[in-house]
Assembly symmetry: C2
Homo-oligomer: 187 residues x 2
DNA sequence: TTAGATTGCAAGTACTTACTTGCATAAATT
DNA sequence: AATTTATGCAAGTAAGTACTTGCAATCTAA
């Protein structure tokens, strides 16, 4: 018979368990339960746990597409699109992102997979550098300029995750760009 | 005989293994090896793995002391001390911090321990709020103002950890405060 | 020096994990 | 209708885990 269970279905379940339980905590038993299939099917399809998890992460990372991000000459608009990209990413895949960032050092094979997201970072730093060279942005390390732009989103996401009650971050892309360019001191 | 092995010595080893391998990966065998003691000693002292790891984290978190941080009326100076505090924290305990942030959701008992660091955050947001009310800082959610101030340090630390070769963040507290207040647009 | 407490060592228990094997069943292809 | 192929189920293996127990060696305080 042809396959009645799609790889996508399995990988989706695997990624979900991986994001919530971490690499070590993502047991094949739990993944099979989440996908509502037999545990043996996982091994027949993917061979071993490592292959399965890597396939799940690879598929997910492919979707981190920063299509709209490029140099247009409109500094504020470009920055807004960059921030909006990471804003959406944190909303939709925040738990995957933070899982990746904490697991990569322990799971060397994940490092390869991270190259795709890192390509996006490099692309953005090049855009920032161009605006610096034009004189629209103050000169500084482009990597520093990048983490200054989107770093708040990451910490905000983590804090919201840790303390859903009292402390809540509610950053808005437009405001972020405005303050990134003009600062917070009253004039 | 009195103890020849101090609790401190054990907790130090436990924290190191915990920070590098994560909660699940921090096996009692590995901790005992790192402390160069017998595995049984761990259980005789701390009862079980959970108690041991919690004690290690608690002791570490006690040291997150933000003594110098308070309202002085000097906005730039206060911001500098806040940034410097997290700058040092990332340098010295960055791996512990990122381990904590990723493990807390999975290990509910860690949530209690996180209250100490969160107290510091609350203290800082109150200082920021006061400067906002004075009119020295633009009004915005104090939590957002906080994550905007120190968020770049966290993302920078993570990126440096993930990609030690190409992309490197080298933020400096003084510059961070300057740009936090005045922005990056050329005037 | 003696007595009590602390440690190391060897062995073992109960549990979980990744992964395998054999067989029966069900579904799609031919 | 017959054959191929994917799946479920039951059972089992080997390894690692947290944790326990008993005993002998060792060190400190008295």
């Amino acid at each position: 018979m042809a396959r009645t269970i799609t790889d996508d279905h399995i990988l989706e379940a695997a990624l979900h368990v991986l994001a919530t339980k971490g690499y070590a905590g993502a047991t094949t038993r739990e993944i099979s339960a989440a996908a509502e299939i037999n545990e043996v099917t996982l091994f027949r399809r993917f061979g071993n746990k490592k292959n399965l998890l890597m396939a799940a992460v690879e598929q997910e990372v492919e979707n981190f597409q920063a299509g709209k991000i490029e140099y247009t000459g409109d500094l504020e608009g470009d920055l807004r699109r960059i921030v909006q990209f990471y804003y959406d990413l944190m909303r939709k895949r925040g738990h995957v992102l933070s899982m990746l960032m904490s697991e990569v050092p322990r799971q060397p094979e994940l490092a390869e997979v991270m190259q795709t997201p890192m390509t996006i970072v490099q692309k953005i730093t090049r855009i920032i550098e161009r605006y610096q060279n034009e004189g629209a942005l103050e000169k500084e390390s482009p990597v520093d300029a990048f983490v200054s732009l989107v770093g708040p989103l990451f910490l905000g996401g983590i804090i919201n995750f840790l303390q859903p009650q009292t402390l809540q971050s509610s950053l808005e892309p437009d405001e972020m760009v405005r303050r990134y360019l003009n600062g917070r001191a009253t004039k």
